[in-house]
Amino acid sequence: MTTQHSEMEEARAASEIRRFLMQRGSGAVADRTFAALMLGCALSIFAIVALILGILILRSRLSLHEFGFSFFLRSDWDPVRGSFGAVPFIWGTLASAFLALLIAVPLALGVAIFINEMCPRALRTPIAFLTELLAAIPSVVYGLWAIFVLVPIMRRSIGPFLKKFFGWTGLFHGPNFGIGLLTASIILAIMVLPVISSIARDVMKAVPNTQREGVLALGATRWEMVRIGVLRNARIGIVGAVILGLGRALGETMAVTMVIGNHAAIPKSLFAPAYTLASVIANEFTEATGDLYLSALIEIGLALFLVTIVVNAIARLLVFMVTRGNTARAV
């Protein structure tokens, strides 16, 4: 009897709540609107990529029609005669990015291993923070520093040293102005380092501790533990980190523009001035006279866009294969 009574009361109470809620109207409309709005925001990311691609193709169609694919095979860049070819810039971009990675990858991996596997716990956060600060310095400040500090050092000390001891390789002949391919690559290396090391750290962190313990239990030294237990398991992700660094190096503009020398010819030596895809845009875009000139520059931008999209997509897939989406942060 009493239980029945309380049940009835509960039912009435529930209906009162229900009535109250009905009075306030249904949340369905607001809910759907909100969900649609959020979906709109998310889809805008697709829209941005599509818009960039569309507008770059549209504005470079003059050059696309005029030169076709041969644009990427011709090596003369002569705005006066209206003859445009991107080979010197492609060459300069690839050479500087490759050299930068050559310098940056061993260092970045060394730092990542040190922070993750060797460093005393107390030092871990400060060192990680310092390497990330390196990423916070703007490109133009790197360029400024490079012009006034790195270039004189290259001209006076490092350049002559390299020429004296490694001149036989043939990589260092020609006059050494301080500015040029090698200087640009060094500053580029400093800039891509934090990108590579922070992703490499994420990837290494994703390797389960049991792997390390297993190798150590077999009597391995620490280096063997890192090599067999960590690096071997994380290698795909590390390759991803390196490719991500490559993407950054290909598109880096200001610092490179300030020290590479900006000369549209295929460099014959590491001291020679060169030109990259990004820096030719930065330098000549506002001075481009004539529609064909402008559209050729935009086509270079289009090429840069497509290449970095592909490079980044590959890198992200490789990193994802190791971390399964458990990265600590978006870089």
Partner: protein
């Protein structure tokens, strides 16, 4: 294979271990060295060149001593404010979709992937895109175009951090709110978003710091200006742009100003990044996995 370890073998392995330890420490030192080299030199040159005029005066023509970058500082503020206003809401919205609505759907994965890829697109390409989209139809450079270029660069960073921060909010909190009969949109805003807000603010500040120093997208959108900004529809001065112009100029006086500008810019960025670290370090709701 003998199971007994040979002495020579152990020695070689230990030597390799020591060598590797030394190399790892050496590379860490080599990486941190340029950071200090840059910061110390910048501090030295910048402090020497900074004065009150830098913050209050307009740039002077070549040959006239003095002058400052007051208009560039204001211009940068305007451009960055505009970029944040445009980019942050879209980024947060996309992040909310990815975590609260997308779940493991293919669409959400595709958006996440696109955001990551967009993050790696060079900033100069954003500059050309904004130029082609806004400057060409309008036929003049503008602060607005610069703001749009930087906003596009902010969106992916904000999106991904918002999503990651929402993932740290325990589902029990959401379920409790929904169980009280609160509609989902309201739950998302007042419960999920609010709980994750310190982390999301961190993400926004990081995105801000990242675009604050960008020069390449401003070259053909903001373009630069010798005078005070008066409207969003005209060329505008910006700090990184002015640093670039002065750095590549042949005049000592302008080099001095470039150093001062670089110091101001980097202090701005470092302060926001460090602030973010402090804020993010505390007050975050932990657990929930």
């Amino acid at each position: 294979m003998p199971l007994r370890p040979s002495r020579a073998n152990v020695g070689r392995r230990q030597a390799a271990n020591h060598l590797f330890t030394v190399l790892a420490i050496l590379s860490t030192v080599l990486v941190i060295a340029p950071l200090f080299a840059i910061l110390v030199y910048l501090l030295f040159q910048g402090v020497r060149s900074l004065n009150l005029a830098f913050f209050t005066h307009l740039p002077r023509p070549v040959g006239e001593p003095g002058g400052g970058m007051a208009n560039s500082i204001v211009g940068s503020g305007i451009i960055l404010g505009l970029a944040s206003l445009l980019g942050i809401p879209v980024g947060i919205g996309a992040g909310i979709y990815l975590h609260e609505y997308g779940g493991g759907k293919t669409l959400a994965n595709a958006i996440r992937f696109t955001a990551d890829v967009l993050n790696g697109v060079p900033s100069i390409v954003m500059g050309i895109a904004a130029y082609s989209l806004i400057v060409v139809p309008q036929k003049h450079f503008s602060a607005f175009a610069a703001g749009v270029a930087l906003a596009i660069m902010m969106v992916p960073t904000v999106t991904r951090t918002t999503e990651e921060m929402l993932a740290t909010v325990p589902n029990a909190v959401r379920e409790a709110a929904l169980g009280l009969g609160i509609p989902k949109w309201r739950t998302v805003i007042t419960v999920s978003l609010k709980t994750a807000s310190p982390g999301i603010i961190t993400g926004c500040m990081l995105a801000f710091a990242r675009v604050a120093g960008e020069t390449a997208p401003l070259l053909f959108t903001a373009f630069g200006n010798q005078f005070w900004p008066t409207s969003l529809n005209e060329p505008i001065a910006a700090l990184p742009l002015q640093i670039f112009v002065y750095a590549v100029s042949p005049y000592d006086e302008w080099h001095r100003l470039a150093w001062a500008g670089a110091l101001v810019l980097i202090v701005m960025i470092m302060v926001s990044v460090t602030l973010v670290r402090v804020v993010a370090g505390r007050g975050m709701l932990k657990g929930g996995h």
